[in-house]
Subunit: 306 residues, 4 copies
């Protein structure tokens, strides 16, 4: 895979994620997440690296909604990227001089403690991305004194790190995924995750319980559930699920086939190695060997050979 789209400009956390996931790849910065995914869909890139969720902010709704519609894309890999914010300024700027700070809203939220403590009188202006904020600060005659962004953005735009690790929490993580056009899936590794979007057949009470039962009865453990509006009015939702295992696993295959049968639409988003390498605990009766044995038994029963 040689060329990957991502949320630019250079210096975003997305770029950092892309470099970690595919160090050799050529990078195609895009103005927003939708554009990055479109580049992958149209073949302008061989894939895209986009954020899926953040441990503090939750699901990245643009990504969730873009993956649920449009031409299908499959997740091929994931990455957990620690989020570390720096206060970046033009060389020579000191902390005491900073009056106008520019950054993305999410970064603003996550650095509130630092700002209240160190820059109580500064005005904070919103930018479209943290890297874009750094770029703004780097422009000659910029009205902004400093940006909050990834350290990598400082390197890109020739800024100086006035302060580092300024987030209120030092354990914030963003989960990025590498998506590409449909094609052969990554091989099962024994520590995989599968992602799915499910549209209900109808929104009767208990529909969600039924879906969860399809997973539970086959011993498939959910790791994330997210409801998203269908757009057709308050109270109409579809669901994003992440769960343990690979679609090649028998229990996963049977569970999602069950969903496919009882739901209006199920969109498969991929099976891929877990970034944390955690292998699932497989409940008795749900391992591949047990499914295979049950299939042999059923074949005998159906032939009357009991």
């Amino acid at each position: 895979m040689s060329k990957l789209a991502y949320l630019g400009p250079e210096g975003t956390f997305s770029e950092e994620a892309l470099r970690a996931l595919a160090p050799e790849a050529e990078r195609l910065p895009c103005p927003n997440i939708g554009a990055a995914l479109e580049a992958a869909r149209r073949g302008e890139a061989d894939g895209a690296v986009v954020p899926l969720e953040n441990s503090l902010e939750g699901g990245i709704t643009t990504t969730l909604d873009e993956l649920a519609g449009g031409e299908p894309l499959l997740i091929a890999a994931e990455l957990l990227l620690p989020v570390r914010f720096s206060l970046l300024a033009r060389p020579g700027t000191e902390l005491g001089h900073i009056k106008r700070v520019i950054t993305h809203n999410a970064a603003h939220t996550q650095c509130r403690g630092f700002l209240a403590r160190e820059l109580p009188d500064a005005v904070v202006i919103a930018a479209a991305s943290t890297a874009g904020a750094a770029q703004e600060v780097s422009l000659p005659g910029s009205p902004y004194d400093a940006a909050i962004a990834a350290a990598i953005a400082g390197e890109h735009y020739g800024l100086h790190e006035v302060a580092g690790g300024i987030g209120d929490r030092d354990d914030t993580v963003t989960r990025f995924v590498l998506v590409r056009r449909p094609g052969p899936l990554p091989e099962p590794t024994g520590a995989d995750r599968t992602s799915l979007v499910v549209f209900l057949a109808d929104d009767h009470p208990g529909a969600l319980l039924e879906m969860l039962t399809e997973f539970a009865v086959r011993g498939v453990n959910l790791t994330r559930i997210e409801s998203r509006p269908t757009g057709n009015g308050i109270g109409q939702y579809f669901f994003h699920f992440d769960f343990e295992g690979h679609v090649a696993d028998a229990r996963v295959g049977e569970a999602i086939s069950g969903l496919h049968r009882v739901c209006t639409d199920v969109r498969f988003l991929g099976s891929y190695p877990r970034a944390d390498g955690v292998a699932p605990q497989i409940r008795r009766g749900t391992a591949d060997a047990e499914f295979a044995e049950a299939a042999r038994w059923l074949a005998k029963v159906r032939s009357g050979d009991v």
Copy 2:
């Protein structure tokens, strides 16, 4: 099928059931249910007709336990036989003369109202079967004045029907099954029943709930559940299940495969046409065509073609 074992002697309800199920078959009367099933197992007969449950008395535990153990036998057909009792005596005997009545305990129970009303002073003696009671009455010098049995027993043993339809309820029904050694199953008819015996992996709280969920999640409706002791102490049970559908149905196959995976042992007892001809209501997403469609979808998903 030319020769069938049944609970004798001639004149039992079992014989009546056998004649209805297989009018042409040669009949082999046996002293008890176990002997009839053994005759089928050993090949002395081509099958056996035995009672499985009665609408008033419940499950016939001898049959349930015999089918759960020993060499496997498969149910090939079922019959719902109305149970109609007659008071039978030697020709010339009048109601007023009857002092000693012989019958099977179950018949005694079901004719209590008649006995209290018409023969309040009669003594009732227990026999091994209703037909055996009739036979006793027919013997020269019999100490018994009358038998309660099926009318057919009167014909066999030359008795006169003093009173007919003497059961307290006139809608009592016994369900008989024709079993035979394993071999090709009856074809699905669209109105079938399947029978199963399940031994739990362990008797943890919730084990039964889990088993029922395996059925429910595939839309398979139970028609009978019966717990039976394993013999290993109070609180240790195994379960008999009857449910709608044929093992050739995809939803039934997947449900019993699920049981096979999570239980210690599942014994298949057969798929056969329902005597009442009632077709199941098939829940959305559980028809064979929907299973087939889901399998095609899964195959595509696994190949990465989404």
Copy 3:
């Protein structure tokens, strides 16, 4: 409690159970289980001791059905009685002389191995109870050579124990219960059992699953479930449940109230100490203290004090 009815005649296992449960009580033998229960209902006795289930034979259907209908009776105590069979004969009779054996069908079934091995040529005749069989053998001019019964029956009827412990299994147990007319319940002991009969509102698929969920969601563990026919045709059942805990326990009270709301009829059969003294594992969130705390919280929430 001074006078208790039981299944007579003297020398039955029921008498043995009664003596163990209430050594001081006066004993009223009755011809059958129904009569013993009626004696308790009418006040001819202060209660009755009846068998409820046997580890080999399963539920005693007469008892189950009698307790489900008629005037209510409550279980006040239970006993697990080991079942030990003896071959009893008139003094002087030797094993080699025994040609005709009389016993109850259940005893016959449980001693099959001994009979086949030691008395292969003997004829076995059915009696209404094992003690009745012993009584028959004791009569002058009896046509029977020996009875299979409890050793206690031999003592009553002056018989000699030709052989003891002749059952095929030596761990068979019958569970007896002491029932009485409604009145104050036994105090909770921490190791109690509760019994219930439930009639479904309608026999829709999933009705049993719903009932089990009412128990499971409150962490109440079932120890026995038994389906019994309503008498209204094959496929119409009601259910006997035994489960851990006392109706005074919050989790049990809420669970059976839930059943009461969703079922046509729930008949409470009593809360009483478990004979085996096993205390339940109480799942997190289902102890009385947790119910009380939740009730306090709910009261505050309802008053708007959050």
Copy 4:
């Protein structure tokens, strides 16, 4: 209620919602949602009107997270506000002259079709709120030609509506809630909604299924479920639930008491009339009268009066 905080500046959809919910109230505009809720918490206002979810964008995460933490606030009323966007400019500006548009990101997303069709070459700049965007355009020497905002914002800031109803969908709705400090709840109306936040005791597989079962077994229908990160790492979530009924309803009270028992923490967010006036379908056995009857029955059972 005389003074209510809301997301300002004047002219926001929040102001429109506040006017509809409480036409007489004094209005206190706040710079962001958190500030509006803080004003209510501290008593600077008698309550606050904030957006909870949007039919296109989904949950308003700031509101969800602010209500889940900090001093408790209770929802007292809700409103469904149709979202209608206008293109607003200084008087005299024509469509053909518009090169730089300022608006909130969500509005940008929702008007993409219009922008692509009518203003394909315009640059779109992000603002903190749609009303703030309108305010920007109204400033003398503004670098922006037009704002996308509510028509009400145009009135406030003296702008002209160049085009109205420019959203891609004309049925978009935002659900607003009026929250206030804890105190007596609104009376049940028969068509109420209750909101709750639940923190799991631990994040074991099946925890969500268990929570849903607490609702389902009491016949309480969910209308919204939203997972939010706890902040403690990917895979750690808490849940927002909306469901039918009032906490004064017996079935709702028992369901949330059940959650309180099995979860680490349950935060009640209020019971209030549904804006759409839809009354719940009450499943058999879950009406208040049935709970009351079951409680009477249980009291009798516990006293031994059966």
